[in-house]
């Protein structure tokens, strides 16, 4: 663990509500200490220079202020030695900072050689999905929170669907961040060192609910606890078709579709009265129309641009649900 | 100061009457001419940077999709591109010649060379029109709009790769090549059109006898612009048409 370069304990202040220091949330990953060390190294250098600059300015302001009886003196207009000194010394200091910073950065980008667990991250407007794939995971679980086990290294394989926009995953307590870019697979690794719940933010502006695209990282101590959490968070098999519909709706649809006829700005049509439209023709923006039935619901989920209802933007991203989930959605919609 | 002002005034009186072409804030026609020329060079500098973006995009996508660029060059006819290169080089010659004519006050020569430059530029655009319309016709266009029927594929391509289909090329991302192709040649084409406008303007001014041996900056500067348009094409031609 790196030495705390001070100020860390300046933290008795009421600002530190969620633990951690005045400046930072608690260090909870293997790379956090390095990042903070670099931060405080630069901070102290800055304080020295800043106090020097402002101190000299203030001193001159007082000493040489315009007043009766005081007159400016002509002094030399340059001094090569002095100027070289105040160019070269900061340059050397900066190179040192660069060295320290790069050393820690290399720690951040190079995962350990073995034992790294892969998690696929899919960010889309405005939700996170984490899929635990490959060994040692036995089944492809997908969750909304990120579940991790303490002291195990993880590699994130991150992307976002082609029709979606750029997002960025930021876990302040881990001091890590990486963009999710459509059409690319970016990687990010970390190893949590503390158990508990931490914030996970989207930090690349992604539209209306950018500021709601927040979830939690849950770090637990044991494999068993992890398994219990992942399995119970969301498992379509654990629900009846009846109960599953509202769950899917709450997880995926509420940011654009209401149930009470209210219209969300730049969102889609409300689901109110959907059941009454069942089996009837519906008109679309491009002049076509089709009957509202099961295939229509499936197409609307998977190819949302195909039938855009008149008066609404073509803004929906596509969803791939399994058969049971789809049945649940259909049942849910028919009841509206 | 009184002496220096007197000096200034005598100097002012000693000067010949100001030529009508000389703007208020310049002292001499030469100063005015060289200022215009420096500004033109700076403008050409910004033109180069403007095109640089596209050349960078070309380099990046070429690096990422070697195969796509390989197949793409079958779609472009090097004979038409070559013809256009010759046409543009000729126009650069006449453009340079027009500057010479303006300097020597050869009015007739100036009018002829200006007209020839304009006509060459026009010929370039005509050839471009045929190239573009063929591509639009067979569907060799940008992005996901790319969709060439296998029957419309260039014969040379089918000869070399008999099993190739239009759909395969589409999946390969041929649309990206044509996005770059149309952006680069389109932007260049816009510059050619602007050049034609400038040469028409010069022609009218020359007809009215605006230029003389002391005042020909406009002819010189437009010729500079025209050379850079020509030079950009010299790079576009091999990058798009010749490299397979």
């Amino acid at each position: 663990m790196m030495a705390d370069l001070g100020l860390g304990k300046l933290a008795g202040l009421p600002l530190a509500q969620s633990g951690g220091s005045f400046w930072f949330p608690p260090q909870s990953s293997t790379v956090a200490a390095g990042s903070d060390f670099t931060y405080f190294l630069i901070l102290w250098l800055c304080i020295i220079f800043f106090v020097g600059i402002c101190g000299a300015t203030l001193y001159f302001m007082v000493k040489y202020r315009k007043r009766p009886g005081h007159k400016e003196e002509i002094t030399s207009t340059h001094n090569t030695r002095l100027e070289l000194a105040w160019s070269i010394i900061p340059l050397i200091l900066l190179l040192v900072v660069f060295g320290v910073s790069t050393y820690w950065y290399l720690e951040m980008v190079n995962p350990p050689n073995s034992g790294v667990r892969e998690i696929r991250v899919e960010a889309s407007q405005w939700k996170w999905r984490f899929t635990y794939s490959g060994a040692p995971f036995t089944k492809n679980w997908t969750t909304k929170k990120l579940y991790l086990i303490k002291d195990k290294p993880y590699q994130m394989i991150m992307t976002t669907p082609d029709r979606d926009v750029i997002h960025s995953m930021f876990i302040p307590a881990f001091r890590v961040k990486q963009d999710c870019v459509p059409g690319r697979y970016n990687k990010l690794w970390f190893q949590p060192t503390e158990s508990g719940e931490f914030d996970l933010f989207c930090t690349e502006y992604c539209g209306r609910d950018h500021s709601e695209m927040i979830t939690k990282v849950v770090v637990v101590e044991t494999e068993a606890e992890w398994k219990r959490l992942v399995e119970t968070e969301y498992d379509p098999e654990a629900y009846t078709i009846e109960d599953l519909g509202p769950v899917i709706y709450a997880d995926n649809c509420t940011s654009c579709h209401t149930l009470d006829g209210r219209q969300i700005e730049n969102g889609g049509p409300s689901f109110q009265g959907f059941g009454e439209r069942w089996g009837k023709e519906r008109k679309f923006a491009d002049g076509t129309s089709r009957v509202v039935d099961e295939t229509y619901v499936k197409d609307s989920l998977e190819k949302p641009g195909m039938n855009v209802v008149q008066g609404y933007p073509n803004a929906m991203t596509s969803f791939n649900f399994n058969e049971k989930e789809r049945e649940a959605i259909i049942a849910f919609l028919r009841k509206q | 100061m009184s002496t220096s002002v007197a000096e200034h005034e005598t100097r002012h009186e000693a000067l010949p009457a100001r030529p009508k072409e000389l703007a208020m804030h310049f002292d001499t026609l030469h100063q005015q001419y060289s200022t215009g020329k420096l500004a033109m060079w700076l403008f050409l500098g910004q033109e180069l940077l403007f095109f640089c973006g596209l050349f960078t995009a070309y380099a990046v996508y070429r690096g990422n999709h070697q195969e796509m660029f390989h197949y793409a060059h079958y779609f472009l006819d090097w004979r038409l591109g070559g013809l256009n290169t010759v046409v543009l080089l000729t126009s650069s010659l006449t453009a340079a010649w027009s500057v010479r004519c303006a300097q020597l006050e050869q009015r007739k020569g100036l009018l002829i060379t200006l007209a020839l430059t304009f006509l060459c530029a026009g010929a370039f655009m005509v050839v471009k029109y045929f190239e573009y319309s063929h591509k639009l016709h067979i569907g060799a266009v940008w992005g996901s709009n790319f969709g060439v029927a296998t029957a419309d594929l260039p014969p040379a391509l089918l000869e070399k790769y008999p099993g190739m289909t239009g759909q395969q090329l589409q999946l390969m991302g041929m649309g990206t090549f044509f996005a770059i192709y149309f952006c680069m040649t389109g932007l260049h084409g816009i510059h050619v059109l602007v050049g034609m406008g400038l040469y028409a303007w010069l022609f009218v001014r020359a007809l009215r006898g605006h230029f003389n041996r002391r005042y020909y900056g406009a002819v010189d500067n437009v010729a500079l612009y025209w050379h850079i348009v020509d030079m950009i094409w010299i790079f576009l031609f091999p990058l798009l048409y010749l490299i397979g």
Binding site: L15, F22, W23, F24, P25, S35, T38, I42, F50, I53, T57, F60, Y64, R65, K66, E72, I74, T75, T77, H78, E83, L94, F98, S101, Y103, Y105, V165, F170, Q178, D179, P182, R184, D199, F201, T203, Y205, H210, S211, P313 | M1, S4, V5, H25, Q31, L38, A39, L42, F43, G45, Q46, C52, G53, A57, V60, W142, S144, G175, T176, A179, C183
Partner: protein, 568 residues
């Protein structure tokens, strides 16, 4: 001899010109078709002030929304529009053209001793291009605003269905780019070709060196953003697949292209501010600026290195770690010439006679605010800390300290400094000082808490936030109100001075650069007599007549036509 400062009676009574550039011709048309750089500068000043007020309005609106963690006055959509328009208007319409096109346009030919800019028609054209850009942004406002963020990143921007407000925004930035390029090449041509005899490059005031460096960037970097937004426009309309992934493009390439311009653009903003700073510091401490060549060349160095650092905006976008490390190193290098300037300004104060006039208060707060803005840049150049701080409020605080703390401060300082010259009137000095102090306090209260919010993880561009960040946001909003009040106060007393202000003498501050040898306001031809070319910081050539009559050239200087200064 008529006019000229030389004719001032020895009593020190100032003759105010009856005919000057402001009334040489009359009527709206005489302004709209003017080729006079001074009138164009005034028209720019009016236009950029409108942009400043517009951008400031959005800032106050969005700070008010952030008073509480949940919806206060704006929905998410309107919050997003507010910060987009705040950013776009401030960056493209205020900060980039602000100092060069208004103050620079007015002062550059006068400091050279020239009659006008090299290309007066091009100058007028660039003003019209600017106004078209401004009108387009106003149109965007009435077409329902824009919510893409000022950076217009695809796919969020160009990937959507065709929208008029987006088309207008792309076109507006494209046009504004050309306005900027034309101003830049005009300045360079002027500085090379219109310097009178005796005015070497090393005689030029440092403001002109700064404008020269700025112009280089404007000419060489702006075309790239022009092309990028041009391509985005074409892509938005025809989906050609350059930047949009669903058609085969690469959104990260957009970021490279965009920042290749937009990082140097930061120096387009800050270099002229540093130039104004050099003038004000020297004048109000009555000292020859320390390290003239170092300050001049550091401007050029910043411009040059500025072209090589754009990648530090993409440390976490998926660019390769090697590229990231190289960009990090190059970014550190920019700190050196910036630091050199600050040290030189402080050294200039040494043994001076420091007069706390309003422009000087701005100049002194510039040292402090740019100190913070510049030093916090080190945290972002350092890649290990940048990963954590990227896209948080730390970034917001950092670049506002530089772009607003420094640039707006220098702009306001410059406006006060040259106000007597431009308008021929003195503003109310007491109110000027109060406003200057308010601006300083406002900045600090607004942005200091944001640094801590940022390190604690508050992401930028959030309409709603977690409760734990409330206190930072509330303090910040109070600061924004102080800042807003200061700007309103300034607008008030500056406008008032136009009608009721005392008439200004030719040289109220005792500054030594050539523009102060002209009358206030200057003649249509700038100088009624050929100015005496001398060093820009040879303050010993001027003597104080009285507080009201300002300074005049010493008789010895007038008679010999030579500077008394031994320095060189």
């Amino acid at each position: 001899m008529a006019g000229g400062i030389v004719e001032k009676p020895a009593s020190g009574e100032v003759i105010h010109p009856k005919v000057h550039y402001l009334n040489a011709s009359k009527g709206l048309k005489s302004w709209l078709v003017t080729l006079d750089h001074k009138r164009i500068a005034i028209m720019y000043l009016v236009a950029v002030s409108v942009a400043l007020l517009l951008g400031g309005f959005w800032a106050v609106l969005l700070r008010t929304e952030l008073l509480g963690p949940r919806d206060m006055i704006l929905s998410n959509d309107w919050y997003n529009r507010a910060f987009t328009l705040h950013g776009a208007v401030m960056v493209f319409l205020f900060i980039i053209p602000g100092i060069p096109a208004s103050l620079g346009n007015f002062i550059l030919p006068m400091q050279l001793g020239a009659k006008d800019l090299a290309l007066p028609r091009v100058n007028l054209m660039s003003w019209y291009l600017y106004v078209i850009g401004l009108v387009f942004f106003l149109a965007v406002l009435f077409l329902g605003g824009l919510d893409t963020g000022w950076t217009l990143y695809p796919p969020y921007s160009s990937g959507r269905d065709i929208q008029w407000n987006l088309i207008l925004s792309y076109t507006a930035v494209f046009i504004l780019g050309f306005s900027s390029i034309l101003t830049g090449l005009n300045f360079i041509a002027t500085m090379h070709k219109l310097r009178p005899k005796g005015m070497s490059m090393y005689h030029m005031p440092l403001f002109l060196w700064a404008l020269y460096a700025t112009s280089l960037i404007q000419v060489l970097a702006t075309p790239v953003v022009g092309l990028t937004l041009g391509l985005s426009l074409v892509e938005h309309m025809f989906k050609i697949g350059i930047f949009l992934p669903q058609y085969g493009g690469d959104p990260v390439m957009y970021q490279h292209f965009f920042w290749f311009y937009s990082h140097p653009a930061v120096y387009i903003m800050v270099l002229p501010a540093m130039g104004v700073q050099s003038e004000m510091i020297a004048t109000f401490s009555r000292k020859h600026v320390f390290g003239y060549k170092a300050i001049g060349w550091s401007s050029i160095a910043i411009a040059a290195i500025g072209f090589l650092v754009w990648g530090h905006h993409m440390f976490v976008s998926g660019q390769s770690p090697t590229a990231g490390i190289i960009f990090s190193l190059l970014t550190f290098f920019v700190a050196i010439p910036s630091a050199i300037k600050v040290f030189n300004w402080v050294a200039t104060l040494y043994k001076g006679s420091i007069d706390f006039k309003s422009p000087m208060i701005y100049a002194l707060s510039f040292i402090y605010l740019f100190g913070i803005g510049g030093l916090t840049g080190l945290f972002l150049a350092s890649i290990a800390t940048n990963v954590h701080l990227h896209d948080t409020y730390f970034i917001i605080a950092h670049f506002h300290m530089v772009m607003v703390g420094s640039v707006l401060t220098a702009f306001l300082g410059g406006v006060h400094y040259w106000w007597p010259k431009m308008t021929g009137r003195m503003y109310n000095e007491t109110l000027g000082r109060i406003a200057a102090v308010m601006v300083f306090i406002g900045f600090n209260v607004t942005f200091m808490p944001q640094f801590v919010a940022g390190t604690r993880g508050m992401p930028r561009r959030y309409a709603n936030y977690l409760d734990e960040f409330t206190i930072f946001h509330q303090i910040s909003t109070i600061g924004a109100y102080i800042l807003g009040a200061a700007v309103v106060l300034q607008a008030g007393y500056l406008l008032h001075s136009l009608f009721k202000g005392k008439k200004a003498p030719p040289n109220p501050w005792g500054a030594a650069s050539l523009e102060w040898q002209a009358t206030s306001p200057p003649d249509f031809h700038n100088f009624t007599e050929k100015p005496i070319v001398m060093g820009a910081y040879d303050f010993e050539n001027w003597e104080l007549v009285s507080e009201d009559a300002g300074y005049r050239l010493k008789r010895e200087v007038v008679e010999t036509g030579k500077s008394l200064s031994k320095v060189h």
